[in-house]
Symmetry: C2
Subunit: 600 residues, 2 copies
């Protein structure tokens, strides 16, 4: 059996050829690291993922959390897996050495996390949610809040959640109804109901710290009146010891199609009027705070989608190599032996498409992680700001593109296994079910498309967009020195040029108040923009593959040829299709906008 979680050769290509992780060790923050320390962390992640996470992936699916006496009960295998993750220090992979962290760049820690995401999406969610909640308190909490809640999270004693969604409001956070009344002692009393709260109950940790959005009595209407609160499952005494159970009730569990290992809960806050919460940051500024967590979460969701796609790709690749069936289409001799199905052109198509999707998205996810590193460790302030602008622009793509296209990869993995792929005796159907959540949570595809077209493009005077276009032009220029890459570069250049024109036109419409028309086909825009970004990343990979081939190392030849063929697949099979969507965008096509409710 070949590698199951991800290809370590491809990971090394990304880290040490394309994204130059070693250059980060020139920066003071990462000066004590080197390729050896990076590889040691990656090796540990892989070992723990294979030993503690992968083995119960199916069991977690078959035995989803149960509601027992007001508690959520998980299978026994989750706790030791999470503990191994904690003990290895991954919860604090990016924190300073002096608080016990590993002080790794995000580029490397995301690559570590990728192993867990491929091995077991359900179990991985618990520490991931905790990291997000901890980062939020670290950024916006008071010293007291850090002492009482952050510190035990860093130590792995408390876990975290993010509690945004309410039954009536869904994606529309402006309409949340959870209220927070000042109690007079600096704390608040919350009252409201939240749904789809992942990790909302379990007994993996001593306490659970819910990061809850709610409205103060004097809140202005809409998103400008949302505040952020810490609401612990158990109250915490001033000396850090646990107090009474807080008035947070597990109202029930949701039963999902996939991703069943992660408890999805309905939580009632303040049914008995006694739900204690603590304001984080300033009143009415909660959404801005939460967006930090959401942006991190969105990159995490994107990488999670990539890794489910990656695991399915590797499984179906291995299957296609092992499984003999049928003959070449031009061989009519029934006495000749059956060939492995990877010999069939259509199976190769399905493998190549998967490779193009998952390795393209994997590159983008790691590129985003490296941008995140730049936002705080780049040598000068201007570079840090630039990185932030580009990361902001790319976040909707980093989240949504893998959610759509790595799900498509999972669909292809099932198809390669045929009837077997459709049974629960093989893992690919679970990857497909698990991955179907990703286009929904942390902002649906529709929300991402509006975020991109209606907000991110014009942010900072379009600085992120201009930067991206410059970067793509630079890549194309470098590619132009490799005649082999002409056929790959040209479709990307055609796409970028036309996309740029469409973008300016749509931004013009928005500026002139033609909002409904400009945003009507935001889904098409999201797809084209995403293909442009992934096409760019594939051209980058192709350049490094060409450089690699020029080194003439025999053992690497096949790897680089595969990279070039996958780049060719994406840039010549997938990218040209975007002109259909561009034509519709150019025409401000109103087919969907003009459809009347009564006509359905």
């Amino acid at each position: 059996m070949s590698e199951q979680l991800l290809s370590s050769r491809n990971l090394a290509f990304e880290l040490y050829e394309v994204l130059d992780a070693e250059a980060l060790t020139q920066r003071p923050r990462f000066a004590e690291h080197n390729r050896e320390t990076f590889d040691a962390a990656l090796g540990t992640a892989r070992t723990i993922a294979e030993k503690y996470f992968a083995p119960h992936n199916r069991k977690g699916d078959e035995h989803e959390p149960r509601y027992v006496d007001g508690r959520a009960e998980l299978i026994a295998e989750v706790k030791p897996a999470v503990e191994a993750f904690l003990e290895a220090g991954f919860l604090n992979a990016n924190r300073d050495f002096d608080v016990g962290g590993m002080q790794l760049p995000s580029l490397v820690s995301q690559a570590c996390f990728a192993h867990f995401q491929a091995a077991n999406a359900g179990t991985t969610a618990y520490p991931f949610l905790t990291m997000g909640a901890a980062n939020l308190i670290e950024s916006f909490g008071s010293d007291e809040q850090k002492r009482l809640f952050l510190q035990p999270m860093i130590e792995g004693r408390y876990f975290g959640t993010m509690a945004l969604t309410e039954p009536h409001a869904g994606s529309s956070l402006a309409d949340i109804r959870t209220r927070a009344e000042p109690a007079g002692d600096g704390s608040y009393r919350l009252k409201g109901n939240k749904i789809f709260i992942s990790g909302g109950d379990h007994e993996l940790s001593q306490n659970i710290v819910h990061m809850v959005l709610a409205k103060l009595p004097d809140a202005p209407p809409g998103v400008k009146g949302i505040s952020l609160f810490i609401v612990p499952k158990y109250l915490v005494n001033d000396d850090g010891s646990l107090g009474a159970r807080n008035d947070v009730l597990l109202a029930g569990l949701f039963h999902k199609m996939g991703w069943r290992g992660t408890t999805s809960t309905a939580l009632n806050f303040g049914d008995n009027g006694q739900c204690v919460g603590y304001l984080v940051g300033k009143p009415h500024q909660g959404l801005a705070c939460m967006f930090q967590m959401m942006n991190e979460a969105r990159i995490g969701v994107g990488m999670g989608a990539v890794m489910l796609g990656y695991a399915g790709y590797l499984y179906s690749l291995d299957y296609a190599r092992q499984r003999p069936q049928g003959r070449q289409v031009d061989n009519k001799d029934p006495n000749s032996p059956a060939v492995p199905i990877i010999e069939h052109a259509d199976v190769r198509r399905m493998l190549l498409a998967q490779k193009a999707y998952v390795e393209g998205a994997f590159d983008l996810g790691l590129y985003a992680a490296r941008l995140f590193d730049d936002t705080h460790s780049a040598p000068d302030e201007a570079a840090r700001a630039q990185a932030q602008e580009l990361l902001d622009l790319l976040t909707p793509i980093v989240k949504s593109w893998p959610s759509t296209f790595c799900l498509k990869a999972n669909e292809l993995a099932i198809q390669i296994l045929g009837g077997h792929g459709y049974t629960r005796e093989y893992p690919v159907e679970q990857y497909y079910r698990d991955n179907r959540l990703n286009p929904i949570h942390e902002g649906t595809e529709g929300i991402q498309s509006l975020d991109l077209l209606g907000r991110k493009l014009a942010q900072n005077g379009g600085a992120g967009l201009k930067q991206l276009i410059r970067l793509i032009a630079t890549t194309a220029e470098r590619a132009s020195h490799h005649p082999n890459l002409d056929a790959l570069r040209q479709p990307l250049e055609q796409l970028v040029n036309r996309l740029q024109a469409v973008t300016l036109a749509l931004l013009g419409d928005l500026a002139q108040g033609r909002v409904a028309g400009a945003l009507a086909n935001s889904a098409l825009y999201l797809k084209v923009f995403g293909h442009c970004v992934i096409g760019w990343r594939w051209l980058e990979q192709a350049i490094y593959a060409e450089l690699g081939l020029m080194k003439g190392v025999d053992v690497d030849r096949d790897f680089y040829c595969g990279k070039l063929q996958a780049a060719r697949y994406f840039l010549t099979w997938e990218v040209p299709g975007c002109h259909t969507e561009l034509a519709l965008l150019e025409a401000r096509d109103d087919t969907c906008l003009g459809m009347q409710e009564g006509w359905f």
Copy 2:
């Protein structure tokens, strides 16, 4: 709650406007029928589907068949549902009045069946498999076989299966290993293992008649050496009474991602050397016989895929109308009330795409059923032969197109429901899981693409293809009298012209022995050909919608406007995208063919 299974207005449109079911009553075979008898049958189907099939659809998913003491145990609700289906006469919907049948045209019986397929795919499979097996014995069985096996199937006492697939061979029927030795008394002894046999065990009927493919001792190699056998679960005495249990062992059950209500079995034939079978038709001609059943089954699979898509569409449409959330994108007043999500352009896009997929495929499925009627009841022999030629050509599309695009519809239905759609508390995730089987069974998409490009196109000197192109040209000519339809007609004409040229070129390659290159991108060809056929059917629907609007009946106005908008969506959003695939086909692109195994 609006209609849950299918829109009866749309069904009436198809039957009485587009496909003119009443014209069939001019033919002697259907002379005793009229619109009232058709509607009575449809009403009965709907009532039984709603009363007996729909209510246990979720339960059948949650409580899949269990292996107990060598038997498959189903939930109790399946039997009364199947009995209601039998008692209403649907098993013999197409059989002659004088054997107790309803003598309905297939057009109407398929429309009846559609209700059951939408209500409960799992339970519906049992009578459907029985119909297929019965038709096979009716066509190819001896009088004795008809007396002993067909008659009790017609009476609903015996059920049937088709047993083709073997563990090592999958889609490659040439390589099956099940053997049949003559026993000297005219019967045979079978030995071999079959997998994925739907309905392979249950206690819904007194007996199960397996239609089994196996090889005789003197069989030539490959598909020319396959014979067809009746292998009953219980032997049948000459007087029709049941004898001993035959040597057919239920080796185990498969546990599927969806479609769980239908038992999927592994069957061992002849573990004890005592498996009695009876040859059906001539030796070595089994595959030709089985293809009759497979062609029927493929149309059934296509319609099944449509109806899962249809049920999801109607559910998500109803949800989008009821569910208030958010505001119009150009409304920034947070105090304004939330609007039903159907008001959001992107939700309308997802609904319109579903409508275009499911109503386009529904039309094609019924069109195929009407062609089937023509193959045996058209007034003259030439018309019957023509219908058969066209039906043969269209069968891969009727099977594969809904399997891909109505699954996509189910994906969109989930997306509209958001987080709720991902939970098992709502039905759309089950439709998605159920529908994922359809691109796999009864010939995968890959098999269908090779069947179309490598076999069906050139069959009968390309007569089916020429006929199709003529029919599309006639539709386009009729559409040209409606200036409103110009923008819909032109993309179809452009597609057909280019597709015709590509088709001739590929057939030329095949004729000159460049087989591997010509078939390498068969998946692209299948997609484009399918879009061409569905685009044609949408233009037909649009013409009837225009004619309907001209009648000026107020109550129908919305319905026809919706039809025109869905036709516009399909022909202007989906059809133009095919030029990307056409360009790759024209170039004989070898990206996938050229990918080497070692490069992955």
